[in-house]
Subunit: 68 residues, 2 copies
Amino acid sequence: METTLAVRGMTCGHCESSVKGALESIEGVEGVEVSLDTGKVNVIYDEATANIESMREAVEDQGYDVVV
Amino acid sequence: METTLAVRGMTCGHCESSVKGALESIEGVEGVEVSLDTGKVNVIYDEATANIESMREAVEDQGYDVVV
């Protein structure tokens, strides 16, 4: 399964790493690609294990807003 | 002794932490205050041990420019 989150507030490579790391630590998340320019975060995941709500929480816990 | 570095490229709290941490790890540096808004970094240091050139290097190693 694949989804794209729109994340607000990422300004630099550190932000990118924080968001990427938080998402990758979720069980069932298999791949994460972050575009700083657009704020788009593409996530490939196993829908039997991971869900979008947990992704949203993980990103928000890092201090960023998920705009959907 | 006290100096103010003008640092370019800090965009977020992670950047602030990187710069602060790098400067604080220099022997002789006793206090660091970073203003993200202005890019100004105030450093209190023992001039017998630390020098501005090593501060500049530490900040640049983190990927930021020191504009003096």
